[in-house]
Each structure stands twice: as structure tokens, then as C-alpha cells.
């Protein structure tokens, strides 16, 4: 059997993701910009290879690589990489690379650990609404992952300042205001993408199954997640839930996303389960 080009590229991308983690680790300890730049370039190159790998897969298999859990995870890592590069370009929160590179490496590690069993081709997984749904949901969840990352950084910095023991992270992390703002940007972006993603999902359901809503466990969980983020944004606007509370909520929100992404399918099942078999 010949070596699949997309597999090879994906392996290379994974290695680069791991190297970027080392780069950012070096940056965290030494505070040298060189390491940060190396980490960032590594992530950028990895994302590029990742994209080519998925494009090659799509061309040779005539469908996008989201047929099983391994491929879905790989796609979410790709979305996270893209989102990270986007936010890095927008808000210059360099230290977020620590979080992004670790999450990317862990995700890609899992991708290679679980079997990549070729699933049966399902003819209903195509069309404009399907691709919009997938694209928006994955992009939205990647942004929310980054919101969770800034939330963690916020809590680290806040704890040092609140307890009057500025330690290892005090110098290395930006100001609380900055982290809060960056987290808020990620949060609103993610929420907006997720909202449109859910709507396109409903439309796709209507087109395929003739109804918007079918009490699928994943549908329920997704809408539940959406409600949690909506509540968080509401509280932030009207009750001043900023700073620490907001940071904790973004972390809880993202934990629920992970549960929705994997847990619901593994434990309960439903019509989304193909992606996570």
C-alpha cells in the first residue's frame, strides 16, 4: 500500500505543533522574543501543512475529512490554529501561544492515538448548509477555546495580584485589563460564529430531515452551551460580570463544549455520532 500523502503531511504538521510548544515554553521561561517568533512561525507552518493535508485528502477521497473522531479532532485543531493566528495578528497577546500550542499538540496527539477507521461515505454530508454549519461551528469553538485560554491566564495573573504575591507569572503575563479585553474579543467572536453555525445547522436539518429540531442529544447540548455563553454575555453587559467571574465562566463554557463535542456522542449517541465514532 502506498504511503498516503495527506497522512505524511499531517504527521509533519503534528511534529511542528509539538516543536511550537517547545518554542513557546522557551519564551515563557526566558522571555526572549526569538523563541516566541519561532513558536509562532512553527504554528503558522504547521497550519499550512495541515491545510494542504486536508485538501489532499478531500481531493483524493471526494469528501472532507470529518468522517470519524480522529478527523473531527484534526479539523478542530486546524480551526484552532487558524483562529490563534487570526487573534495573534489582531491583538498581539503573545503569551496565549503557550495555551494554543499545548492544546494543539494535545489534540493532534489524540488524533494519532485513536484509530482512524475509514467510515462509510454518507451521501447526506455535503451541500452548502452542511459545510457552512461545520465551518462556523468549528471556527466558533476554536475562538471559544482561546477565550478559555485567556481566562486561564487571567486567573493566574489575578491570583498573584489579589493575594499580593506577584510571582513567576507577574512579569510574564500582560495586564488584567488587557487579558479581559482579549478574552472578551474571543468570546464575542466565538459566540457570533457559533450562533450562525447553529442556525445553518437547523436549516441543514430542515433540508435533509424536513424538520429544524429533532431532539438529538447533541442538538440539546449545543443549544445548552449556546445558552450558557449567551447568559455570560448578558451578565457581562448588564451586571458587570467582568474580570474573574467572566474568566471562570469562559473556562466552564469551554469544558462543556468539550463534553458536547466528545462526551455526548460517546455516551449517548444521536445523529451527530458519525463524526466522533
Amino acid at each position: 500500500m502506498n504511503v498516503r500523502i495527506d497522512d505524511m503531511l499531517l504527521q509533519m504538521a503534528t511534529v511542528l505543533y509539538f516543536f511550537s510548544m517547545a518554542g513557546y515554553g522557551g519564551f515563557l521561561f526566558s522571555q526572549k522574543k526569538l523563541y516566541q517568533r519561532a513558536g509562532l512561525s512553527l504554528i503558522a507552518s504547521a497550519v499550512l501543512l495541515h491545510f494542504i493535508s486536508m485538501a489532499a485528502y478531500t481531493l483524493s477521497n471526494r469528501h472532507v475529512p470529518i468522517q470519524n473522531l480522529s478527523q473531527s479532532l484534526s479539523l478542530s485543531a486546524f480551526a484552532l490554529g487558524c483562529m490563534f493566528l487570526f487573534f495573534q495578528y489582531k491583538s498581539d497577546l503573545k503569551i496565549l501561544g503557550i495555551f494554543a500550542s499545548v492544546l494543539l499538540s494535545v489534540t493532534m496527539g489524540i488524533v494519532w492515538l485513536i484509530p482512524d477507521a475509514p467510515a462509510e461515505k454518507n451521501e447526506i454530508f455535503k451541500g452548502f448548509w452542511f459545510y457552512s454549519h461545520i465551518l462556523l461551528i468549528f471556527a466558533g469553538e476554536a475562538a471559544l477555546a482561546l477565550a478559555c485560554g485567556t481566562g486561564i491566564l487571567y486567573l493566574l495573573q489575578e491570583k498573584g495580584i489579589k493575594t499580593k504575591t506577584p510571582g513567576f507569572f507577574f512579569k510574564r503575563l500582560p495586564s488584567l485589563d488587557f487579558l479581559d479585553d482579549a478574552g472578551y474579543t474571543c468570546l464575542t467572536t466565538g459566540f457570533a460564529l457559533m450562533t450562525i453555525g447553529l442556525v445553518t445547522g437547523f436549516i441543514y436539518a430542515k433540508v435533509i430531515w424536513g424538520r429544524f429540531w429533532s431532539w438529538d442529544p447533541k442538538e440539546i447540548a449545543s443549544v445548552g452551551t449556546w445558552l450558557i455563553y449567551a447568559a455570560l454575555l448578558h451578565l457581562r453587559f448588564y451586571s458587570g460580570w467582568r474580570g474573574r467571574k467572566s474568566a471562570i465562566m469562559t473556562i466552564i463554557g469551554f469544558s462543556i463544549i468539550i463534553f458536547t463535542f466528545i462526551g455526548v456522542n460517546l455516551l449517548i449517541g444521536g445523529h451527530h455520532d458519525t463524526f466522533t465514532k
Binding site: 495580584i161 499580593k164 506577584p166 451586571s239 458587570g240 467582568r242
Partner: protein, 430 residues
């Protein structure tokens, strides 16, 4: 080998009263340099004076025991120039020579000898002193090199050790905290509770960080107005302080009140009104003005004078650890400089020049003669003798010039030029 002598006193050897008497203003520095330049025993000289030290660094013309007389003459000059009896300050003086003088200068430039180790101003002050020496023509090849080396080692130490990393004064620590809480201080408003001297000092520091606005509240309204005018801010009545809290971000409190002037309940109420935007309280009053329980309100941070002191102390500890690393780097730099200095002696320079010529002659002869197989042994020897003669005639005059010392000319300058012209290399050619 030329020598380097450094005479000086600093905060460790002399009390402030004495340092004041011996400190040189910039005009005095200028006139002192002019005076010292006229001294035939001094080749190069630099005067360096800050509030914590006065130092004179010079290269004597003479060698050995005559140097002691020169040092004495220079001290006498300082005494005359500052109109102070020599006996009043000789006990506070330190006199370093050669390697010790170089090490001392490197340590001063790197802020290892400062009262506040790692403070960043000293390097700028030394650069300024050097600039004056250059402008008055008091600096030559030795001081130029020495001073530039001291700048580069100071920068290297700042870059590679954590010596300048942490805030080691209360006000700086407070500003550092403010910068880690707020992303842009220039958009933030400061409320001063109390219009005393402490408040004024704190604001001066903050103003240099460009805060947006300053509000002053004081029990005696008149004083609040006066202070507010001084900083282009606005004054409010002391009773209005709770309302004022809604629109400010940083509160610096320094009243003489016996009880808390801001309570937990007040701040809780205010927090709602300001949509939980962050508040940073800096309480420098003793007894404290701000209820420490306020720190438990989310998005409110309270630091009292002890908290700030604790941060400063742990930073100082950290800094002291870094000095060990810095001292090692200085030792290396001193060693390198010593090697360069030694290379400036006449004999090794002439030898290096001869060696280089001999090497060139040998290499070229070998290259040419190996392709001229038809020559007899005698021919070859004649050619070799001729090339050697050309080489030694070429460097004959330069060598004679170098040997011919004296005449009040600066040998180190010509030796340095010779080494550079002929690319003789030194121990240090970065």
C-alpha cells in the same frame, strides 16, 4: 604598559555632608577637566560626579613610584578646586590602580556599586561624563576604549541578568502593579485622598506615567484645591469621596485619619454603580485609611504600605542573587581589557609586526619558488634574501618610530594604530 588610576569616594565611604562638598556640577566638571588637562603628568582624564559619588579617572604619564606623586597632586587639585582641606576627605577616598580601577569602573557602570543596586540612571550619567571628557579633549585612546567597554558590559549585564528587572522602591512597585492591572494608565483617573506630602510624591511618579486625570479630596478643602491646581486636576469635598469613586480607577490614600476613610460597604455600593470596573487602592497611610476587607470584593485590589514593602523586599533579594552572575561577567570583561592593555606595550607590538612580515615572506617565497623548478639553489637563496630584505626595510621606519618613545607623545595611540593598520590582532577583536 600604561596604567589607570581611579580616585573617588561614594555613599559607602563618605557621609552625605562630605559628598555634597565634593560633588561637581557640570560647570565645575568642565573647569576641573580644563585644569587637570594642563597637568603634564596626566595623559587622559575623566571626572564623574553624581549625588552618590565623585570619581576622577586618569591615565598618568609616568610610571611606578612617580605615580604616587601624581595621585597626590590630583587629590590636591580636587581639594583646591572644591575649596576643601585635604585632610577633611582623604580618609573617605579610595584609590584604585590598574585592574582594580577597571573593575571598579565596570561595577559602577553596571550599577553594582549603586546605593540601589540595578538602578538604571547610572549608565546615562557615566555616558554624560564621558561625553564631556571627549568634548574637552581629555579622553584618548585608553579612556575611549575603557569607557566603551564599560558601556557594553553594563548593557550586557542588564540584558542577561535580572539585575534591573524588579521594582525596588515603593512608588515604583505601586506603578508596576497599576500597569499589571490596567492596560493603559493614560486612560485612567487617580483619586488622591489627603493632600499631604506623601500624596504629592506619589502623584509626581504617576504623572510621569501620564495618567488621564487627577482628583483630590481632602478634609481641608483649601489644600485640596491647591494640590489639584498644581497637577492640573480637580478638587472635591472630602464628603463627596464615595461619589468620586464611581469615576476614578486608582485611589492613593494618605490621610492622617485614625479610622478607615473608605469602608467595605461603601466600595461595594460604588462597584455596582461603576459596573464592576476595576479599582486599585494604594494605601500609604499609617494607620491605614482603606479597609483591607475591600480586597475581597471582586475587581478591587487593595495594597497597603506593608504589602508594597514586602514586594520591594522580595525583589531586592532576587536582585542580589543576580549580582553574583553580574560580578562573574565583570571579571571576564576586566580580564579581556587587561589583555588588550598589555598588547599596547612596545616590545610585543614590534615582535608581532616582525612575525607577521616573516610569515608573509615565507609563504610567498614558498608559493613562487615551488613553481620555478629551473632555478639553482643559489638563485633561490638570493631571491629569499631579497624578499626578506624588502620586508624588513619596509617596516624599519615604522619600528624606529615606535621605539623612539618620549617627546610627550601618546605611545598607546600609535601602538593602537599600528595594531589596527597591520591587523596584528589583539586578545579582543569583536
Amino acid at each position: 604598559m600604561p596604567d589607570i588610576i581611579l580616585i573617588g569616594l561614594n555613599h559607602k565611604t563618605a557621609p552625605i555632608e562630605l559628598r555634597e562638598k565634593l560633588s561637581f556640577s557640570s560647570e565645575e566638571t568642565l573647569s576641573a577637566l580644563e585644569g587637570l588637562k594642563k597637568d603634564p603628568g596626566i595623559k587622559e582624564v575623566l571626572v564623574f560626579s553624581t549625588c552618590n559619588r565623585t570619581e576622577v579617572l586618569f591615565i598618568p604619564e609616568t610610571m611606578d613610584q612617580a605615580q604616587n606623586d601624581q595621585t597626590g597632586r590630583t587629590i590636591e587639585f580636587i581639594a583646591r578646586h572644591k575649596n576643601i582641606k585635604r585632610s577633611e576627605f582623604t580618609s573617605a577616598l579610595y584609590i584604585h590602580k590598574g585592574e582594580d580601577a577597571v573593575r571598579h569602573l565596570f561595577r559602577v557602570a553596571s550599577s553594582l556599586d549603586s546605593m540601589m543596586i540595578g538602578e538604571p540612571q547610572i549608565l546615562g550619567q557615566i555616558k554624560q561624563a564621558y561625553r564631556v571628557a571627549v568634548e574637552t579633549g581629555c579622553s584618548g585612546v585608553l579612556l575611549n576604549r575603557l569607557m566603551h567597554k564599560s558601556f557594553s558590559i553594563a548593557k550586557k549585564i542588564r540584558r542577561e541578568t535580572g539585575i534591573g528587572d524588579n521594582a525596588v522602591s515603593i512608588s515604583y512597585a505601586a506603578i508596576e502593579l497599576a500597569n499589571k492591572i490596567f492596560s493603559d494608565l493614560s486612560e485612567k483617573t487617580v483619586l488622591l485622598l489627603g493632600a499631604g506630602e506623601m500624596a504629592e510624591l506619589a502623584v509626581e511618579h504617576l504623572l510621569s506615567n501620564n495618567v488621564k486625570d487627577i482628583v483630590v479630596a481632602n478634609r481641608t478643602f483649601k489644600n485640596a484645591v491647591a494640590l489639584a491646581e498644581k497637577f492640573n486636576g480637580q478638587a472635591v469635598k472630602f464628603e463627596e469621596r464615595e461619589d468620586a469613586l464611581v469615576h476614578v480607577d486608582i485611589i492613593i490614600s494618605s490621610t492622617g485619619a485614625a479610622e478607615y476613610v473608605l469602608t467595605h460597604d461603601q466600595v461595594r455600593r460604588v462597584m455596582k454603580k461603576r459596573h464592576h470596573q476595576t479599582l486599585f487602592f494604594i494605601d500609604i497611610a499609617v494607620p491605614r485609611d482603606i479597609d483591607p476587607k475591600i480586597n475581597s470584593i471582586s475587581n478591587a485590589y487593595v495594597y497597603d504600605i506593608d504589602d508594597l514593602k514586602n514586594i520591594v523586599e522580595s525583589n531586592i533579594e532576587q536582585r542580589e542573587k543576580e549580582t553574583v552572575k553580574a560580578e562573574r561577567m565583570i571579571d571576564e570583561a576586566v580580564l579581556k581589557f587587561q589583555k588588550w592593555l598589555e598588547s599596547l606595550a612596545i616590545v610585543p607590538t614590534i615582535k608581532a609586526l616582525n612575525d607577521k612580515m616573516t610569515a608573509i615572506v615565507e609563504m610567498e617565497c614558498k608559493k613562487t619558488l615551488s613553481s620555478l623548478k629551473h632555478l639553482t639553489k643559489e638563485d633561490m637563496e638570493a631571491i629569499q634574501r631579497m624578499t626578506q630584505a624588502i620586508a624588513s626595510r619596509t617596516i624599519h621606519d615604522p619600528i624606529r618610530f615606535l621605539r623612539n618613545t618620549g617627546d610627550h607623545r601618546d605611545d598607546s595611540l600609535y601602538l593602537n594604530v599600528t595594531r589596527q593598520l597591520f591587523n596584528l590582532g589583539g586578545p579582543d577583536d569583536e
